[in-house]
Every structure is written in structure tokens, then in C-alpha cells.
Amino acid sequence: MREHKIPVTRVEGHGLITIHLDDRGQVAQARFHVTEARGFERFCQGRTVWEMPGITARICGICPVSHLLASAKAGDAILGVRPPRPADKLRRLMNLGQFIQSHALSFFHLSSPDLLLGWDADPAQRHIFGVAQAHPQIALDGIRLRAFGQEIIETLGGKRVHPAWAVPGGVNAPLTPEGRDRLATKLPEARRIAQDALALYEKNVPNWAEQVETFGNFPSLFLSLVTPEGSWEHHDGVIRVVDSNRRIVADGLLPARYFEYIGEAVEEWSYLKFPYYKPWGYPEGLYRVGPLARLNCCDRMGTPWADEALKHFRALAAGKAVTSSFHYHYARLIEALAAVEQVGTYLEDPELLSPRIRAEAGINELEGVGIHEAPRGTLIHHYKVDEFGVIRGVNLIVSTGHNNLAMNRTVAQIAEHYLQGETTIPEGLLNRLEGGIRAYDPCLSCSVHAAGRLGLRVVLVGPEGQVLDEKVSAP
């Protein structure tokens, strides 16, 4: 069996794709490897539960808010408290800012070069600077939308990256009237950009028919939080699992009991674990999380414009689940619009100025789970502590981990479609493999809690295990 190895770029983190060929030169297997390791689950042991939001936020510079909030929720459970209602709303507002900035980064900065300049465009131009030259207004829109999300985070948390703001029991500062008014002035532009981006995507869907068919288009389960009433949810609620027909496989699952329905398999060739839906076994229990899953799982978005967009999204699959991972981009843009709409609602809520933002308590439980939705998908923080609140055990399952099986299936599908007997890696294949991974907007640093450079390699390996070709994309 021969093997192609391909690096993946324009994602957060470092990874490798290997493509194994059989004796006939056909793709026998393709694997997406995450090749780094860090160890947050280990070195957090011995710290206190109150320190965990600040420590685990350092897992990632792109979505520190997600870890901050999941960690604070796990702390809530250990304290045995429910944050005051203003604190819950403030956390939600910050998470919406996180959705806006992260989704803008993914679509405009990382993926728009492929979508707007073409999959076979000159690699020297196929990046955000190329987009800025060819479509300056779109590049500027992306920068402004991301800046709006970042400003929400900074306004609440005091800084854009790693704000130490959410704590077990609530948050440590409310929204100020000045901050509210400043954000409100920028809301109309953010809404216009989100709507324009969505319209741009919808207009171009027919141009991407081949990518829609081949970039991870397969039946699977989808898993996400929803409200108890079935609406789109990003910070609390219950777990719902649907299949490719959007039939509900499981609903109302308690987040704190995640280990009863999510298993974690290990493969020797990757540092990233392979979560699966336990009742269906491994690997049949492959499921996807993130924007695509959230839209497939929910009954409604809960805001007018996003609900209208959801109708168009549903029409892609005649009401069944949208199964192409390429449409993660579509779902991401609908979520960005929903987030902007919800931000508008929160900015009109006087309760966000309330000083009652933290429930004080000691250690009342020796175990706590915090689950919420990061932009990339469901995020789980599970801590065990002693009677003094000192951490004795940590388990983190992040969105990129949940999508690991699906990303592997995606690279295999793309390789099978675009690699037809070659013994070298064509440039077109390289970028499409990367694009397939990029659709999931993975955070490889996050997923294995890794430290390292950006980039991803692709290696082509022959039937005897010999390396036939190897390519590395510039990060």
C-alpha cells in the first residue's frame, strides 16, 4: 500500500494527512493526524477550581472565551450554584461575541480565499491578502465583523484575548452603560455585513456543486445543545442527537452525564482522540458537532433573519439534515447573523447592567461538568476536586475532537474523488484536502491542547510503505 502525506494550512494548529494507496494505485485509506501534544488535563491537577477558567482559557488564543465559560460552568457545578440571571445573560453575550469573531475569522480570513479566488488559483495569491486585492470591500467587512465580536469580548472582559472575567458562580463585572451604547452604535454595520456575507454564499452555492458533493458528504449523526424547547442554543440546555434524516435519535440528554453517551476511542497514529456516540459503538457512532450540527439539530434559530435563512438552509436537503460538511460555511454564516441579532436583544436588556452577577459558595460537590457550544462545536470540561477545591482529575473534550472521525472520513472522500492513480500530490488535491478540513474550522492546538507551529503536511505512501511524495503548504 502506498501513502500520500499532505500538510494542512489556514487552520489553527498543526496536522498531517496521509493517503495510503493500494497495489492498483487507488486510495485504500486516508488519515488525518494531529501530531502535537500538550497536557492541560495533567498539569491542571493540583490547581484550584477557581483558577481553572484563567488557566484553561490559555488552551487557545482564538476561542479562549469558550474554555473560560465551559470552565466557569464546571465550577458552578462544583460550587452547587446557579449564576444569577444577569450573569447568565452576560456570559451569553460574551459567547455571542466569540461566535461573531470566530466565525468571521473562519469565513473571511481562512476560507474566503478558496471560495472567492477559486480552488485552483495561484497559491501565491490564494490568501486573505489576495482577497483584499480582488475584493477589498469583502476583506474589510471581514475585518470589521471580527472586530465587532472582539469588541464585545473586550467590553465585558477588559481585553480581547484571555479575559479573566467569568468565574465559578458568575462573572466579575457587569456591562457598563458606556460599553452598551458603544456596541449599539456598531450593531447596524455588523448586521449588514452578516447579511451580505450570507447573501454572497447563497448566490455562489451553485458554483460549488462539486465541493458540496465531495467535501465530507455522507450520512452521520449530529450532536449539539438545544434549548429544552428545541431552539438553537449555545450556552446551556440539553443535548440532542439527530440522524441524517433529522430524526431525533436522542433528546433531552443531560450534559453532566455526557460519559454515558459519548465514548472516546484512541488510535495509535494520532494524539487526538476519537469520540463516538456510545449507543451506536465505534466507529459507527460517528457524529458531527459545530455549526452544521447545531442547525441540523435545532427546530428554530429564535431570531427573525436567522430563522428566514434557516428555511433556505433546510431547503438544501428537503427538510432532512444537510449532510455535506462543505455547508459548515453556510451554517456558520447563519449563526453569525443569529449572534448579531441576539446581541441586539441583549443590548436592550437593562438586566445586563445589574450588579448582582455572582453567587458565592464553597465546595459543595466533588465533581462538575460544564458544557457549552464553542464556535467550532460542543465543548466539555469535566473536573474532579477534593474537599478544598483542588483539582484531582480533568477531562476535556473539544469540538475538533468530536469531529475527528468525520474529518478522517472527509479526507478519504476527497482523496478518492480527486486522486486517480497519481504517484505525486497534485496541487489541486492539496488545496481541496485542506479545504475539506478547513470547513470544520478545526482548532488543532485546542483539540490536543497542543503547542507548535501552524501548518499541515500531506504524505503519499505506496503499497510497500514507501513515501512517494510529500507536500507542505505555507502556513
Binding site: 480570513h109 491578502f129 476583506a139
Partner: protein, 142 residues
């Protein structure tokens, strides 16, 4: 509008000099002050809206406060290593022109882990704050 961007790491002692200066400049009409750990593309709209941008950063080594006129670099730099010139290049590309800009660097002695400026860096930072305040008030030129 004058935009002052103070750069630095708050936990590497003298490296925080730019942030220290930014935190001590009074907000006033026509002046916007930002403190950041690194330059990011999010700053492009603010830079584009300024008539003058002053980047305040620390530098390795001794000597006086150093002033350097800046223009846009040859092309926008990568987002993970955005320089003042790269940021100006982004603005130039997206808006057709970049504002006047200065890079002001402060001498450092201690860049180890911790908070607080060494006496020498602090004196330089205080002098820079006085000069910038005087400039904002129209008392001196840059």
C-alpha cells in the same frame, strides 16, 4: 484624530513600557489611545480613521527614547506577526492611503517575568507621556 497604540507584554516587566504609556495618557477630544499585546488586523479601521498614528513599544537595549518615521511596508504582513509597517500596508491597500506614523521605542533593562518597570525604563516612559500630553495640547511638535 491622533491614535496612540501602546504595545507590550504585561508580565515581562520592561516589555510592558508601551502599555504603561498608553494607560497613563488621558483620553481627550481628538485622541484615541489603545493598549495591545500584539498588532492584529482588527486595528485596521482605527488606523485608517486616524490622521496620525504613534506606535509605542519597548526595544532591547539602552539609550534615549527613539523616534522613527514609518510608512507602509511593501505588502501586508501575516496576521500572526503583524508589524506596524505591515498594519500600515493593510490600511494602504484597503483604503488607498495610510496615515502618518511614528514608531517610538523605549529602552529596557529587565525583560524577565514579572510586573513593573525598571527605574530607567520608567523614567523614559514618564518623559514620553509628558511629551505626548504636551503635543496633544499643542505645546510642542513631535
Amino acid at each position: 484624530m491622533i491614535l496612540v497604540i501602546g504595545l507590550g507584554h504585561p508580565l515581562r516587566k520592561d516589555d510592558a513600557a508601551g502599555l504603561w504609556v498608553a494607560s497613563r495618557l488621558p483620553s481627550q477630544e481628538g485622541v484615541k489611545v489603545i493598549g495591545v499585546q500584539e498588532l492584529t488586523p482588527d486595528l485596521i479601521p482605527s488606523v485608517a480613521g486616524a490622521d496620525l498614528v504613534v506606535f509605542v513599544d519597548s526595544r532591547v537595549g539602552s539609550g534615549p527614547v527613539r523616534w522613527e518615521r514609518l510608512g507602509p511596508g511593501p505588502r501586508p504582513s501575516l496576521t500572526h506577526a503583524l508589524t506596524p509597517q505591515g498594519l500600515l500596508a493593510w490600511v494602504n491597500q484597503l483604503f488607498g492611503q495610510a496615515p502618518q506614523a511614528w514608531l517610538v521605542t523605549l529602552p529596557t533593562k529587565d525583560l524577565s517575568l514579572g510586573e513593573g518597570l525598571s527605574p530607567r525604563t520608567r523614567r523614559a516612559a514618564e518623559a514620553l507621556v509628558r511629551r505626548l500630553v504636551a503635543y496633544f495640547g499643542g505645546e510642542v511638535d513631535l
